[in-house]
Amino acid sequence: MKTRSVFFVNLLTLLCLYGCSVNGNPCLRHSDCAGNEECIAGVCSIPSDSSISDGGNDIDDITDIQDAVDVDDITDTQDAADIDDITDVMDTIDSSDVSDSGNMDVTDSSGDYTDTVDSGIPPVPPANFYLFIRSLGFYTQNSPVEKNQHNYKVR
Protein backbone atom coordinates (compact mmCIF):
# COMPACT_ATOMS: atom_id res chain seq x y z
CA MET A 1 0.00 0.00 0.00
CA LYS A 2 2.80 2.35 0.91
CA THR A 3 4.71 1.43 -2.25
CA ARG A 4 1.66 2.18 -4.36
CA SER A 5 1.12 5.61 -2.81
CA VAL A 6 4.80 6.46 -3.32
CA PHE A 7 4.44 5.46 -6.97
CA PHE A 8 1.45 7.73 -7.48
CA VAL A 9 3.16 10.62 -5.74
CA ASN A 10 6.15 10.21 -8.05
CA LEU A 11 3.85 9.98 -11.06
CA LEU A 12 2.04 13.16 -10.07
CA THR A 13 5.34 14.92 -9.49
CA LEU A 14 6.55 13.99 -12.95
CA LEU A 15 3.29 15.11 -14.53
CA CYS A 16 3.40 18.39 -12.65
CA LEU A 17 6.98 19.05 -13.65
CA TYR A 18 6.92 18.01 -17.27
CA GLY A 19 3.36 17.33 -18.33
CA CYS A 20 2.56 15.08 -21.26
CA SER A 21 4.53 15.37 -24.44
CA VAL A 22 2.41 17.34 -26.86
CA ASN A 23 5.04 17.81 -29.52
CA GLY A 24 3.42 19.14 -32.69
CA ASN A 25 0.22 20.20 -31.01
CA PRO A 26 -1.08 23.73 -31.41
CA CYS A 27 -0.33 26.09 -28.56
CA LEU A 28 -0.68 29.68 -27.55
CA ARG A 29 1.86 29.85 -24.75
CA HIS A 30 4.83 27.85 -23.58
CA SER A 31 2.87 26.32 -20.68
CA ASP A 32 0.63 24.58 -23.21
CA CYS A 33 3.62 22.41 -24.15
CA ALA A 34 5.64 19.86 -22.24
CA GLY A 35 8.57 20.87 -20.08
CA ASN A 36 11.23 20.40 -22.74
CA GLU A 37 9.23 22.13 -25.46
CA GLU A 38 8.38 25.67 -26.41
CA CYS A 39 5.51 27.20 -28.26
CA ILE A 40 7.06 28.32 -31.53
CA ALA A 41 4.82 29.77 -34.26
CA GLY A 42 1.75 28.30 -32.64
CA VAL A 43 3.10 24.73 -32.46
CA CYS A 44 4.77 22.86 -29.60
CA SER A 45 8.28 21.99 -30.69
CA ILE A 46 11.58 21.16 -29.09
CA PRO A 47 13.80 24.23 -29.35
CA SER A 48 17.05 23.91 -31.26
CA ASP A 49 20.00 23.35 -28.94
CA SER A 50 21.89 26.60 -28.82
CA SER A 51 24.74 24.95 -26.89
CA ILE A 52 26.14 23.51 -30.14
CA SER A 53 26.96 26.93 -31.49
CA ASP A 54 28.12 28.12 -28.07
CA GLY A 55 30.35 25.14 -27.42
CA GLY A 56 33.24 26.38 -29.50
CA ASN A 57 32.48 24.49 -32.73
CA ASP A 58 31.60 27.64 -34.51
CA ILE A 59 32.19 28.64 -38.08
CA ASP A 60 35.45 30.39 -37.31
CA ASP A 61 36.97 27.15 -35.99
CA ILE A 62 35.93 25.27 -39.09
CA THR A 63 37.43 27.97 -41.26
CA ASP A 64 40.66 27.74 -39.29
CA ILE A 65 40.89 24.00 -39.97
CA GLN A 66 40.37 24.62 -43.65
CA ASP A 67 43.06 27.28 -43.61
CA ALA A 68 45.55 24.81 -42.13
CA VAL A 69 45.16 22.54 -45.18
CA ASP A 70 45.63 25.07 -47.88
CA VAL A 71 45.82 24.63 -51.60
CA ASP A 72 49.59 24.96 -51.79
CA ASP A 73 50.09 21.88 -49.63
CA ILE A 74 47.90 19.80 -51.89
CA THR A 75 49.73 20.96 -54.98
CA ASP A 76 53.11 20.14 -53.44
CA THR A 77 52.03 16.60 -52.67
CA GLN A 78 50.85 16.08 -56.20
CA ASP A 79 54.16 17.35 -57.54
CA ALA A 80 56.08 14.78 -55.54
CA ALA A 81 54.20 11.85 -57.00
CA ASP A 82 54.11 12.85 -60.62
CA ILE A 83 52.75 10.94 -63.58
CA ASP A 84 56.08 9.55 -64.75
CA ASP A 85 56.57 7.71 -61.50
CA ILE A 86 53.16 6.15 -61.77
CA THR A 87 53.92 5.02 -65.33
CA ASP A 88 57.15 3.48 -64.19
CA VAL A 89 55.41 1.51 -61.52
CA MET A 90 52.89 0.16 -64.00
CA ASP A 91 55.71 -0.93 -66.31
CA THR A 92 57.25 -3.08 -63.64
CA ILE A 93 54.04 -4.95 -62.86
CA ASP A 94 54.26 -8.43 -64.31
CA SER A 95 52.18 -11.57 -63.79
CA SER A 96 55.27 -13.26 -62.44
CA ASP A 97 55.19 -10.84 -59.57
CA VAL A 98 52.12 -12.51 -58.13
CA SER A 99 53.27 -14.78 -55.36
CA ASP A 100 51.61 -17.93 -54.09
CA SER A 101 50.02 -15.95 -51.33
CA GLY A 102 48.08 -13.92 -53.89
CA ASN A 103 49.99 -10.74 -53.15
CA MET A 104 52.09 -8.83 -55.62
CA ASP A 105 55.22 -6.87 -54.86
CA VAL A 106 55.38 -3.62 -56.77
CA THR A 107 58.62 -1.67 -57.11
CA ASP A 108 59.10 1.56 -58.97
CA SER A 109 61.73 2.05 -61.64
CA SER A 110 64.26 3.58 -59.30
CA GLY A 111 63.87 0.77 -56.76
CA ASP A 112 63.31 3.28 -54.00
CA TYR A 113 59.77 2.24 -53.26
CA THR A 114 58.28 -1.21 -52.83
CA ASP A 115 54.77 -2.04 -51.88
CA THR A 116 52.72 -5.20 -51.59
CA VAL A 117 49.45 -5.21 -53.50
CA ASP A 118 46.65 -7.74 -53.16
CA SER A 119 46.13 -9.07 -56.69
CA GLY A 120 42.69 -10.50 -55.99
CA ILE A 121 43.88 -14.04 -56.77
CA PRO A 122 43.18 -16.42 -53.85
CA PRO A 123 46.22 -18.06 -52.27
CA VAL A 124 47.10 -21.50 -53.62
CA PRO A 125 47.28 -24.19 -50.94
CA PRO A 126 50.08 -26.76 -51.17
CA ALA A 127 49.34 -29.94 -53.18
CA ASN A 128 49.85 -32.26 -50.26
CA PHE A 129 46.90 -30.51 -48.52
CA TYR A 130 44.51 -32.04 -51.04
CA LEU A 131 46.20 -35.42 -50.76
CA PHE A 132 45.69 -35.26 -47.05
CA ILE A 133 42.01 -34.44 -47.57
CA ARG A 134 41.65 -37.38 -49.96
CA SER A 135 43.22 -39.72 -47.46
CA LEU A 136 40.40 -38.82 -45.15
CA GLY A 137 37.84 -39.87 -47.83
CA PHE A 138 36.81 -36.41 -49.04
CA TYR A 139 36.75 -35.47 -52.70
CA THR A 140 37.39 -31.94 -53.90
CA GLN A 141 36.23 -31.52 -57.47
CA ASN A 142 38.07 -28.41 -58.50
CA SER A 143 41.25 -28.86 -56.62
CA PRO A 144 44.54 -28.18 -58.45
CA VAL A 145 45.50 -31.72 -57.62
CA GLU A 146 42.76 -33.02 -59.92
CA LYS A 147 43.83 -30.76 -62.74
CA ASN A 148 47.47 -31.65 -62.52
CA GLN A 149 47.28 -35.40 -61.79
CA HIS A 150 45.01 -36.85 -64.50
CA ASN A 151 45.94 -40.42 -63.79
CA TYR A 152 44.62 -40.23 -60.28
CA LYS A 153 41.36 -42.19 -59.87
CA VAL A 154 38.94 -41.90 -57.06
CA ARG A 155 38.48 -45.15 -55.26
Binding site: C16, Y18, L28, S31
Partner: protein, 179 residues
Protein backbone atom coordinates in the same frame (compact mmCIF):
# COMPACT_ATOMS: atom_id res chain seq x y z
CA UNK B 1 16.51 35.92 -16.92
CA UNK B 2 16.77 39.40 -15.39
CA UNK B 3 13.53 40.38 -17.08
CA UNK B 4 11.83 37.36 -15.53
CA UNK B 5 13.02 38.22 -12.01
CA UNK B 6 11.95 41.82 -12.45
CA UNK B 7 8.49 40.77 -13.59
CA UNK B 8 8.07 38.49 -10.58
CA UNK B 9 9.06 41.35 -8.27
CA UNK B 10 6.44 43.60 -9.85
CA UNK B 11 3.80 40.92 -9.42
CA UNK B 12 4.65 40.29 -5.77
CA UNK B 13 4.89 43.96 -4.84
CA UNK B 14 1.61 44.87 -6.54
CA UNK B 15 -0.10 41.93 -4.85
CA UNK B 16 1.18 42.96 -1.45
CA UNK B 17 0.14 46.57 -2.02
CA UNK B 18 -3.43 45.56 -2.83
CA UNK B 19 -3.65 43.11 0.05
CA UNK B 20 -1.98 45.29 2.67
CA UNK B 21 -3.76 48.54 1.80
CA UNK B 22 -6.91 47.62 3.63
CA UNK B 23 -8.87 50.40 5.38
CA UNK B 24 -9.08 48.51 8.64
CA UNK B 25 -8.30 51.40 11.00
CA UNK B 26 -11.90 52.36 11.61
CA UNK B 27 -13.52 48.99 11.04
CA UNK B 28 -15.71 47.50 13.73
CA UNK B 29 -15.58 44.02 12.34
CA UNK B 30 -13.73 42.00 9.79
CA UNK B 31 -15.09 38.89 8.15
CA UNK B 32 -13.21 36.20 6.24
CA UNK B 33 -14.84 33.84 3.83
CA UNK B 34 -13.68 31.51 1.13
CA UNK B 35 -14.56 30.12 -2.26
CA UNK B 36 -13.53 27.07 -4.19
CA UNK B 37 -13.76 27.01 -7.98
CA UNK B 38 -13.15 24.63 -10.83
CA UNK B 39 -13.46 25.42 -14.48
CA UNK B 40 -12.02 25.90 -17.89
CA UNK B 41 -12.48 28.30 -20.76
CA UNK B 42 -11.17 29.43 -24.09
CA UNK B 43 -7.96 31.22 -24.94
CA UNK B 44 -7.43 33.29 -28.01
CA UNK B 45 -4.19 34.70 -29.24
CA UNK B 46 -2.30 35.65 -32.33
CA UNK B 47 0.93 33.93 -33.21
CA UNK B 48 1.52 33.58 -36.95
CA UNK B 49 -2.25 33.50 -37.26
CA UNK B 50 -5.18 33.71 -34.90
CA UNK B 51 -5.69 30.67 -32.72
CA UNK B 52 -8.51 29.72 -30.41
CA UNK B 53 -8.17 26.79 -28.09
CA UNK B 54 -9.61 25.54 -24.87
CA UNK B 55 -7.90 26.84 -21.78
CA UNK B 56 -6.36 24.34 -19.39
CA UNK B 57 -8.69 23.22 -16.62
CA UNK B 58 -8.01 24.90 -13.33
CA UNK B 59 -8.76 24.74 -9.64
CA UNK B 60 -8.76 27.81 -7.48
CA UNK B 61 -9.27 28.85 -3.88
CA UNK B 62 -10.14 32.36 -2.72
CA UNK B 63 -9.80 34.14 0.56
CA UNK B 64 -12.15 37.12 0.88
CA UNK B 65 -12.02 39.88 3.44
CA UNK B 66 -14.62 42.57 4.08
CA UNK B 67 -15.24 45.09 6.87
CA UNK B 68 -18.40 46.03 8.73
CA UNK B 69 -20.44 43.95 6.32
CA UNK B 70 -19.82 46.51 3.61
CA UNK B 71 -20.49 45.28 0.13
CA UNK B 72 -17.70 47.42 -1.19
CA UNK B 73 -14.79 47.15 -1.11
CA UNK B 74 -14.30 43.44 -0.60
CA UNK B 75 -10.69 42.32 -0.95
CA UNK B 76 -10.01 38.91 -2.29
CA UNK B 77 -6.96 36.88 -3.13
CA UNK B 78 -7.45 33.93 -5.46
CA UNK B 79 -4.80 31.24 -5.80
CA UNK B 80 -5.24 29.40 -9.06
CA UNK B 81 -3.61 26.31 -10.46
CA UNK B 82 -3.98 24.98 -13.98
CA UNK B 83 -3.88 21.21 -13.97
CA UNK B 84 -3.70 20.42 -17.67
CA UNK B 85 -0.66 20.35 -19.93
CA UNK B 86 1.86 21.79 -17.50
CA UNK B 87 0.77 22.60 -13.98
CA UNK B 88 0.90 26.30 -13.31
CA UNK B 89 0.40 28.47 -10.28
CA UNK B 90 -1.18 31.89 -10.40
CA UNK B 91 -2.53 34.54 -8.04
CA UNK B 92 -5.31 37.02 -8.64
CA UNK B 93 -5.63 39.86 -6.15
CA UNK B 94 -8.91 41.62 -6.74
CA UNK B 95 -11.49 44.04 -5.42
CA UNK B 96 -15.14 43.00 -5.48
CA UNK B 97 -18.55 44.52 -5.24
CA UNK B 98 -21.52 42.33 -4.37
CA UNK B 99 -25.14 43.28 -4.88
CA UNK B 100 -28.31 41.31 -4.13
CA UNK B 101 -30.84 40.76 -6.85
CA UNK B 102 -33.38 38.87 -4.82
CA UNK B 103 -33.71 36.76 -1.73
CA UNK B 104 -31.47 33.97 -2.92
CA UNK B 105 -29.48 35.56 -5.71
CA UNK B 106 -26.52 37.90 -5.68
CA UNK B 107 -24.08 39.19 -8.23
CA UNK B 108 -20.44 40.00 -7.64
CA UNK B 109 -18.34 41.95 -10.07
CA UNK B 110 -14.63 42.29 -9.63
CA UNK B 111 -11.46 43.60 -11.15
CA UNK B 112 -7.97 42.41 -10.46
CA UNK B 113 -4.60 41.47 -11.77
CA UNK B 114 -4.11 37.91 -12.93
CA UNK B 115 -0.53 36.81 -12.50
CA UNK B 116 0.87 33.44 -13.40
CA UNK B 117 3.98 33.05 -11.32
CA UNK B 118 5.19 29.51 -11.93
CA UNK B 119 6.71 27.82 -13.82
CA UNK B 120 6.63 30.85 -16.13
CA UNK B 121 5.10 34.27 -15.76
CA UNK B 122 2.09 35.82 -17.40
CA UNK B 123 0.58 39.05 -16.25
CA UNK B 124 -2.48 41.09 -17.09
CA UNK B 125 -5.76 42.66 -15.95
CA UNK B 126 -8.84 40.55 -15.32
CA UNK B 127 -12.50 41.32 -14.77
CA UNK B 128 -15.30 38.93 -13.95
CA UNK B 129 -18.80 38.31 -12.70
CA UNK B 130 -20.13 35.84 -10.15
CA UNK B 131 -23.72 34.77 -9.90
CA UNK B 132 -24.41 33.42 -6.40
CA UNK B 133 -27.33 31.16 -5.58
CA UNK B 134 -28.19 30.49 -1.94
CA UNK B 135 -29.49 26.94 -1.76
CA UNK B 136 -29.97 26.97 2.02
CA UNK B 137 -27.09 24.88 3.27
CA UNK B 138 -24.69 25.92 0.56
CA UNK B 139 -24.10 28.92 -1.65
CA UNK B 140 -23.00 27.97 -5.13
CA UNK B 141 -21.79 30.29 -7.82
CA UNK B 142 -21.09 30.48 -11.51
CA UNK B 143 -18.32 32.70 -12.68
CA UNK B 144 -17.29 34.24 -15.96
CA UNK B 145 -13.97 36.02 -16.15
CA UNK B 146 -11.97 37.66 -18.87
CA UNK B 147 -8.28 38.42 -18.75
CA UNK B 148 -5.86 40.01 -21.16
CA UNK B 149 -2.22 38.96 -20.89
CA UNK B 150 0.20 41.16 -22.77
CA UNK B 151 3.25 40.52 -20.57
CA UNK B 152 5.22 37.53 -19.38
CA UNK B 153 7.83 35.04 -20.47
CA UNK B 154 5.17 32.36 -20.91
CA UNK B 155 4.05 34.16 -24.04
CA UNK B 156 5.76 33.64 -27.38
CA UNK B 157 7.28 36.80 -28.79
CA UNK B 158 4.72 39.29 -29.99
CA UNK B 159 1.76 37.38 -28.61
CA UNK B 160 -1.03 38.77 -26.46
CA UNK B 161 -3.52 36.30 -25.03
CA UNK B 162 -7.14 36.80 -24.15
CA UNK B 163 -8.73 34.30 -21.81
CA UNK B 164 -12.41 33.83 -21.10
CA UNK B 165 -12.93 31.32 -18.33
CA UNK B 166 -16.05 29.67 -16.99
CA UNK B 167 -16.05 28.12 -13.58
CA UNK B 168 -18.34 26.99 -10.84
CA UNK B 169 -17.93 26.37 -7.16
CA UNK B 170 -19.22 27.23 -3.74
CA UNK B 171 -18.67 29.78 -1.01
CA UNK B 172 -18.20 29.16 2.69
CA UNK B 173 -17.69 31.37 5.76
CA UNK B 174 -14.40 31.15 7.61
CA UNK B 175 -14.44 33.46 10.60
CA UNK B 176 -15.47 36.87 11.84
CA UNK B 177 -13.70 39.23 14.22
CA UNK B 178 -15.29 42.17 16.02
CA UNK B 179 -18.87 43.11 16.67
Amino acid sequence: MYKNVQLKRIIIVSTLMICVYIPSAHAQSVTFSGRLNAGTGITTGKTDENHVRRSPSFLSAELRTFFDDDVFPVYSLEILSEIESRTTLGIVPKIEYTGSIGDNLAVTVYGGIHSKVAPMTMFGPEIGVYLHMDLGKIVIHFKISMGIFPWGDDLPDGTTLTKIDFSTGFSFPITRYGQ
